[in-house]
């Protein structure tokens, strides 16, 4: 109970300061309308669907399809994985509260263009306009409008996790249940294929490495030439 009380106290105090800052930026009413309920966890199923669509749209901007596959090529599974597994579990440690906060930010990211001169929802905008809005959000361009934090978080996390997910070798990112990480044969060209990475060491390569380095000479102890230790 003590934990809950302290946590709640901290959040209330912090949010008060947060909204005070937004007030100074002159957009309190709009911001409360957009993110207020979301920040306190009143998310609906529609919000979650919207958030997934926004996340997917942003990730398509981040990893486009060209001669190699991109985010759209791996749809729909990659967006669900990116948002609910990579963001929710890996980046946010399985904290539902934190994930709800991010989903709220994505919903706000979709709605904010209406009050920022675009006159439409992000999801309804043309790709070029989406790209401009996404870039401006990412670089903090809407800071003076009172949306800075929310939009930066939404855009930055979309960008970061899209790249991390794609170059984690999705959809062949999970090790098989063996001593060596076995990759299943697949015709899908992954981020690793694009990078030309060799992938996990197999039994034969490990055998060669062991033969080369087993009992390799070492220098005992630490480096005392460091005068600061």
């Amino acid at each position: 109970m003590m934990r809950d009380a302290l946590a709640e106290l901290d959040k209330v105090v912090s949010r008060r300061v947060f909204f005070d800052r937004i007030f100074k930026a002159g957009a309190l009413v709009a911001a409360m309308d957009v993110i207020g309920p979301k920040a306190f966890g009143a998310l609906t199923a529609a919000d979650k669907a919207t958030a997934l669509a926004v996340y997917s749209a942003c990730c398509k901007l981040v990893i486009p399809v060209d001669q190699d596959p991109g985010w759209a090529t791996f749809e729909p599974g990659i967006s669900d994985y990116g948002l609910n597994v990579f963001v929710g579990q890996v980046a946010l440690g399985g904290s539902q509260q934190a994930l709800d906060g991010f989903i709220g930010a994505l919903v706000a990211f979709n709605q904010a263009p209406r009050t920022l001169g675009y006159n439409d929802l992000f999801l309804n905008m043309a790709p070029d306009a989406q790209l401009q809005y996404f870039t401006t959000s990412l670089t903090g361009g809407f800071e003076a409008d009172g949306y800075g934090d929310v939009l930066v978080v939404a855009a930055f996390f979309c960008m970061f996790t899209a790249k991390a997910t794609f170059f984690s070798n999705y959809p062949r990112h999970l090790a098989q249940d063996t001593e060596f990480q076995v990759l299943q044969p697949s015709s899908v060209k992954t981020g690793w294929d694009i990078m030309g990475w060799k992938g996990p060491v197999g039994p034969e390569e490990e055998k060669a490495l062991r033969a080369k380095y087993y009992d390799a000479p070492v220098i005992p102890g630490i480096d005392f030439s460091n005068p600061w230790i």
Binding site: R3, F102, F166, A216, D223, S225
Partner: protein, 537 residues
């Protein structure tokens, strides 16, 4: 199985695991850990390993790394994951602080860079809390002892990765002094593990407490219970009398005749003490959190050295490190680990390159092999705080203020360190790097702030710190509680003030030192007098 022991240790990581090995021959010991005991009962020859440990290390990638996810098959139990709030300007967002949940703790998983604290750190202990007996001289024999038990050594340059060699040469040309990174490994195959998200040594070369001290404790008769989550320390008449834990759904209370040691790490230990009511007696529990914000730096260097590859796609080796120096020639509070593999081999770091869209994708294709360095800022001018009990602790570490501005010392120190690394990368022929100090100040600052606040802070310490008085500390010079008899803390939480290194070596030295104290003053058995000369032999 008995339910009464001389000593019960909660946590089998660097501190508790080391301590168990030091005292098990002198009394009955129960060692509890919330995670699995991988390779228990199997022969664990370093460099050869146990099949189950090799399998586990291989599997610590994105799938089973994830707690309770739909893709983890319920096996994602190797980490605790705590929310950490770092940006006060955005209270709806937290990063995650991930702490190992396995017998051996961080020493079982993390690639073994063994770096000692700086001399100034020991001076800072007394300045911060008035603690006595924590000087460099006091700890020297214990560091030497640990370095012997953990097979700490350096690697000859012929087995360094090409990126580290090139980095050192470039630094030397600029007059920047590099130091060789020590490591606690044995029979290492330099380096074949494939990094996805975790950092285990697949090839069993890592020497941690699970390979050294805990087997020693078991051989001496200690009982190790894995998958045992400590609920609370039992306290009666202001005296620690036992530990209640949950294992396989069964709640059990074990009795400690002489001592309860909480060694669950800088997050877990205050959480257990919260749940045990110690915070009611001492409000310093959970306070004074220190940690090291970390940033990976990624550089595009078109020409790999002779041989054609940086070895960037096969894990990382930290072969050398340095400190950026200020205008007076003194180290700035950042340690820089040169690395070939880390920046390019993990999606995390590839992801932080500041481009997106077609430009980013083209860049990844054009420069699949990159070099980099990892920067830890060592002494932020802030205190964080751990709140809550064992069920769901949360962490506040407000590196960014309510105005969204990064704490000034973190920003200035990182600016200095990134500029130093940038000079070295440029000397190596880099055409670009990320973060890039040549960005406008505003954009550079924003970049650093984003990276720091979303990446979390590593090496938490100081949350039940040692000091001279209960007015500013939780434990005394011997890591014994000021407020509860027969209660000790033995992990990173007792570090009185932040240290300038990866904490592995410091925590083990604390465990070794605590072992000497427990043998002589708690178990009342002759304490082995560890002299520097003896250890050196």
């Amino acid at each position: 199985m008995p339910d009464t022991y001389d000593v019960i240790i909660c946590g089998a990581g660097a501190g508790g695991g080391y301590l168990a090995g030091e005292i098990a021959a002198n009394g009955t010991v129960l060692l509890l850990d919330a995670g699995p005991h991988i390779g228990a009962g199997e022969a664990m020859a370093p460099g050869i390993g146990s099949p189950s440990r090799r399998k586990f290390s291989t599997q610590i990638n994105l799938g089973k790394y994830i707690p309770d996810s739909k893709t983890s098959g319920g096996q994602g139990n190797a980490f605790f994951a705590y929310p950490i709030y770092m940006d006060q300007s955005n209270p709806v967002f937290s990063a995650v602080q991930r702490e190992p949940r396995v017998v051996g703790g961080g020493t079982f998983l993390n690639v073994g860079a063994w770096v000692r604290p700086r001399t100034v750190d020991f001076d800072g202990f007394a300045e911060e809390t008035g603690v006595k007996g924590w000087s460099k001289q006091d700890f020297e024999p214990f560091f030497q002892q640990c370095e012997k038990t953990q097979f700490v050594h350096r690697t000859p340059r012929e087995n360094w990765n090409p990126g580290s060699i090139a980095y050192e040469k470039a630094a030397n040309r600029l007059g920047i002094k590099m130091y060789e990174t020590s490591t606690n490994k044995f029979h290492c195959i330099f380096c074949g593990h494939r990094l996805d998200a975790g950092m285990p040594c697949k090839y069993d070369s890592l020497m941690g407490t699970a390979q050294t001290q805990i087997p020693k404790a078991i051989a001496a008769g200690a009982t190790v219970l894995d998958n045992a989550t400590v609920v609370k320390v039992e306290i009666t008449n202001n005296k620690a009398t036992g530990v209640t834990y949950v294992r396989n759904g069964v709640t059990t209370t074990a009795t400690a005749r002489k001592l309860v040691v909480v060694a669950a790490g800088a997050i877990g230990t205050p959480a257990i003490l919260f749940s045990s009511g110690v915070w009611d007696k001492n409000k310093n529990v959970g306070q004074y959190l220190r940690a090291h914000p970390g940033i990976a730096m990624d550089a595009l260097v078109p020409e790999p050295p002779a041989g054609g590859r940086w070895n960037t796609d096969r894990g990382y080796q930290w072969n050398c490190y340095h400190y950026p120096l200020d205008e007076k020639g003194q180290p700035v509070d950042v340690i820089i680990h040169a690395s070939a593999g880390f920046p390019a081999a993990t999606p995390w770091v590839a992801a932080q390159v500041g481009f997106f869209g077609q430009a980013y994708k083209d860049l990844m294709r054009r420069y699949p092999q990159r070099v980099g360095a990892f920067h830890f800022q060592l002494k932020p001018s802030i205190y964080g705080r751990v709140m809550g009990g064992v069920e769901k602790p949360i962490i506040n570490y407000p590196v960014a203020t309510v105005d969204g501005v990064l704490e000034p010392k973190i920003l200035s120190d990182f600016t200095a360190s990134i500029r130093t690394s940038a000079r070295i990368f440029k000397e190596m022929g880099a055409i670009d790097m990320y973060p890039n100090p040549n960005l406008s100040t505003a954009l550079f600052n924003q970049t650093i702030t984003q990276l720091v606040t979303t990446a979390g802070a590593l090496h938490p310490q100081g949350t039940c710190r040692a000091g001279a008085s209960r007015t500013n500390s939780v434990v005394d010079t011997n890591c014994m509680s000021f407020d509860v008899d027969n209660l000790m803390c033995c992990d990173a939480s007792v570090i009185p003030n932040h240290i300038s290194s990866n904490p592995n070596s410091m925590i083990m030295a604390i465990g070794a030192r605590a072992g000497a104290f427990v043998r002589s003053s708690i178990l009342n058995t002759p304490s082995k007098n560890i002299s520097t000369d003896e250890v050196a032999q």
